[in-house]
């Protein structure tokens, strides 16, 4: 392990994570001593439209993977339409590799609650929901506690801080379905249905929760709002790159010396992140990695210097996603890794559309065959052909995401596949795992 150079350390930008070092930051008293609810007081004195403009000016883009400009999304909510408006926070973190929202909600839940109140005020919502992944029980404990504390202190409920503004906030636990991270599936789930995506348009901005105008934002996006309200758009833009402003929590996992959360200025490179994380583990050399979770195409060692912002990663042929950097070495097999991801997509496909439901089902079986040493060269064509029929043809992004690791691993690591097919690599799965794979 080496000490990172000062210029690399300077890429760290503790903003969303800054309170995590205070062990009691989840209590409202501690939070208030650390700038807590100051942004709310400030925001309630401003006009809601000015807050939307502030977020637009900051260039904040969604932290849930798609990177949509947050201020623009808020601005889509029709005002004066006589309908109730809703804010729904997508806290259904479950993209493989992603682990940034759970620590935030566990160790600094009030940051999210405060962001929710400000955002709801800006879009004129009187009700807000935090849809949190069911399995995230400790984060939910802390979050429910924080919401209760905020009610008790008058930050939620009727006439918040005597501003005349009312807001009800409910923490709603999911029940174990990755698809509910897709915003329209999340809304269906929140309405008490199966979590299956809706046809878009209409978009949630006009027909969201209960067919009313709704903003759906990721945890990190909403938690970014209080610091922007306090520090201003120009300060926010002092971090990151021109089109990808602000800090971002990069989650490093896998074959590095110090895996963990590194909040850095957007546009940091993997080379720099690895330096911060103490480098690769001894005996491991970087082979492949995901820039933002398993739904983003794999990158290889040649991409160490790609700036990890929305534009930089797209130019390299992948997607920034949730900045969940899963790092694999020369001791990991890209074929097996892809197979496990496909098992995930197959399990989590909601079954609504045929390309995703059937495509993933069959691709898993092809992978099992290849990994059992019984694959054929035609299998590789079958995989690419199947991906072609899923990507862009499935109902929502889940199907698209499933193809990412398949096509990218075939692009960079075809030899690994051939080694299984041509018998140079020992089979990784046994025959008994092959039921139904023919």
């Amino acid at each position: 392990m080496t000490t990172p150079r000062p210029e690399t350390v300077a890429k760290l930008t503790p903003v969303l994570t800054k309170r995590w070092l205070s062990p009691d930051a989840w209590r409202i008293g501690t939070y208030e001593q650390l700038d807590g609810y100051a942004a709310l007081r400030k925001a309630l004195k401003a006009h809601p439209d000015d807050l939307i403009q502030l977020i637009k000016d900051s260039g904040l883009r969604g932290r849930g993977g798609a990177g949509f400009p947050t201020g623009l999304k808020w601005g889509f909510i029709p005002q004066g339409d006589g309908k109730p408006h809703y804010l729904v926070v997508n806290a259904d973190e479950g993209e493989p590799g992603t682990c940034k929202d759970l620590p935030l909600m566990t160790h600094d839940p009030h940051a999210l609650v405060e962001g929710v109140i400000i955002a709801s005020y800006a879009i004129r919502a009187a009700r807000a929901y935090i849809y949190i992944r069911g399995e995230a029980v400790h984060a939910a404990r802390r979050l429910r506690n924080a919401v209760q504390e905020a009610y008790d202190k008058g930050y939620l409920g009727r006439n918040i801080l005597r501003s005349g503004y009312d807001l009800e906030l409910v923490v709603h636990s999911g029940a174990g379905a990755y698809i509910c991270g897709e915003e329209t599936a999340l809304l269906d789930s929140l309405e008490g249905f199966r979590g299956q995506p809706r046809l878009r348009p209409p978009f949630p901005a006009t027909h969201g929760l209960y067919a009313s105008p709704t903003v759906v934002n990721n945890v990190g996006t909403i938690a970014s709002v209080p610091p922007i309200v306090l520090g201003g758009a120009d300060w926010w833009k002092s971090m990151g790159t021109e089109k990808s402003s602000g800090p971002m929590i990069y989650s490093l996992s896998g074959r590095v010396v110090n895996p963990g959360q590194y909040e850095c200025s957007m546009g940091v490179t993997l080379r720099e992140l690895l330096e911060l994380a103490g480098g690769m583990q001894p005996g491991h050399n970087l082979r492949f990695w995901t820039p933002g979770g398993s739904s983003t195409p794999l990158l290889a060692a040649e991409h160490l210097d790609v700036p990890l912002d929305f534009e930089g990663v797209a130019a390299a042929g992948s997607i920034l996603g949730t900045t969940a950097t899963q790092i694999f070495s020369d001791q990991d097999c890209p074929v097996y890794a892809t197979y496990r991801w496909l098992e995930f997509y197959h399990h989590e496909s909601c079954g609504k559309c045929t390309p995703c439901r059937e495509g993933n089902y069959w691709m898993v079986r092809v992978y099992r065959r290849i990994l059992a040493g019984q694959g054929t060269h035609e299998d590789l064509d079958t995989l690419l052909d199947t991906c072609d029929n899923i990507l862009g043809r499935s109902f929502c992004g889940l199907g698209d995401g499933a193809t990412s690791s398949v096509t990218s691993s075939l692009k960079y690591f075809k030899q690994d596949y051939l080694d299984y097919i041509e018998g140079r690599t020992a089979p990784k799965l046994s025959d008994k795992q092959l039921v139904g794979a023919h």
Binding site: P6, V9, P14, P23, W26, D35, D50, L54, A66, F68, F76, K83, G94, P96, G97, T98, L102, G134, E135, V137, Q148, V171, H172, S173, G174, A175, A177, L187, G192, R200, P201, P202, F203, T206, H207, G208, A211, G232, W235, S238, E242, K243, S251, L252, G254, N258, Q261, L276, A277, P297, E311, A314, S318, I319, Q326, R340, E348, C350, C396, T407
Partner: protein
Amino acid sequence: MTTTTFTDETRERAREIIARYPADRSRSALLPLLHLVQAEEGYVSPAGVAFCAEVLGLNKAQVGAVATFYTMYKRKPTGDFLVSVCTNTMCNVLGGQEVYDTLSEHLGVGHDETTADGTITLEHAECLAACDYGPVMTVNYDFFDGVDASTAVGVVDELRAGGRPMPTRGARLCTLKEMAVQLAGFADERDGAVADGGPGEPTLRGLRLAQQHGVSVPGFDPNTPIRSKAEADKAAAEAKAKAEAAKPAPVEASAAPVKGGDGASAPTGAAGVAEPAKPAQATEPAKPAAASGSTTRDVKAPDDKSPQVRTAETRQPDAGTAVPDAPGTKVPTDGTGTAPAAGDARSAEAAGVAANAPAGDGKPAGDEAGAQERNLTEAKAGTDADGAGPADANETGAQK
């Protein structure tokens, strides 16, 4: 099977849950209610389904359809402790599969099966969002980090001996039924449970590094004023006047990147990539969603973007993309015939169907001859109207 098996306490809690949601939206309470019946019975039984149906005024099929969709609703009795081992890719390669296999053999149960003594239900789980602690397992969803086969066996042995090992992060263990009460949205009443579990080292690594080196973000002034619209307009007008006074050309040049920044879904790596991408975007308005576009997407967009990137962009049309009914274009009002009447989730879907020609008579969309012709006519009309149609018309032609 009757619903009388449920206690008064559960009924009272059910009322509390329903009260969290708008009065005419009680169905939103279904997920928490299913957690609630699981809290009493340890799984969602037919009686539990009937109970939810009764309190929400739904039929049992509607509730059953939801209950069977979600992994966390168990369909047969569970043990006191649900042990979930992550076997998704990252934990898997770090040893999670070995942990699961060892536990399965040690306990003599497979996935979603319970030990004979009723203590432990074992499952392999998909990503548990703790990859920096991998391989992880959870007991009743609280984390045991960085486990290996022997520590995992130690945990389950302690559980079976009546002990309550402390999770690495998260609160002291409760039973699965007690956990289900929390999942139904009730506070953890146990003294000190909310305070349990500080952040682990991986969570804090970046921060510690910043602290050691004295790194913070400079220029943070919590009193930075929020500009009002009047001030912003004034500043913009001044800037414009200043720019015009200088010379007109740079104004346009500087305006371009701003527009690009708004269009989040059009990340442009290099100028050379951005340019040819535009025609592809222009075809989108005519085929706004994947469903209607699915039969006509064989024509590759003329750019060298990764297909995943291109698809992601089309999934997220921005303000610059004139999708019918896209946010920011035109808001449907309740007065029109196509707008949803009941204001329900289904009506949103209905609006979507109205905007996207559905398949009729079980045939694929567009298979009917009339529909094809209508498409062509509409495409042609689109060409005349806004110039967004030519590529679309070509594509439709190619399909024929």
